[in-house]
Amino acid sequence: MTTLIIIDQPPYGNWAGREGLDMAFSLAAFDQPVALLFTGAGVNWLRQGQQAELIAQKNVDRNLSAATVFGVDQLLADSTSLTRFGLAPVDLLAGVETVRFEPALLSSYSHVVCP
């Protein structure tokens, strides 16, 4: 009964992506199995070296790299989007698994949410 939350909005420009992350951590806090899938411009959340304080925002790399500690089971990133944005696995935060966005991937989740 895992919930998959899809993050396809880029970081910081609007609140949709952050709301998705907050939803995931809230679900995890209540011991609900949850996974995060970053796709489209959303893969940019995973880029190392973000300095969000320069635009008066909070970095997410700490909570994302500690996602498993927070109870988020999987951090997934769509391979096509990673290539599109020039992100090699070495550029990503730790613990991110590369996958292909396709129906088979979604079928293993009972709930799919796209904030």
Binding site: D8, T39, G40, F101, E102, P103, L106, V112, C114
Partner: protein, 90 residues
């Protein structure tokens, strides 16, 4: 497991293509709000099982050249939600 995909994004919104990429097998696609414009978008190929809210179509004048066969009422929309084993709102 059949999924009902409810899509309200305009065809050029990135999530429109994301939704189409997720539709498979017996899944049903329901176009609402701006997504009904996809019926008039000649560059798109929509999945076999596609329906659109008639009210949204009529609001946008999408009733000509046979498009009305895709139109469904709210009662039919509710029936679709009961038939699917999972619903994803894109």
């Amino acid at each position: 497991m059949t999924t009902l995909h409810i899509l309200n994004k305009s065809p050029d919104h990135p999530r429109f293509a994301l939704c189409l990429a997720a539709v498979t097998g017996e899944d049903q696609l329901l176009l609402t709000e701006n997504a009904v414009l996809a019926l008039a978008d000649t560059t798109l190929t929509l999945p076999a099982r596609v329906a659109a809210l008639a009210a949204d179509m009529d609001a946008r004048g999408l009733t000509g050249n046979g498009l009305s066969r895709y139109g469904v009422g709210f009662d039919h929309m509710v029936r679709l939600t009961t038939q699917a084993s999972r619903i994803i709102s894109w």
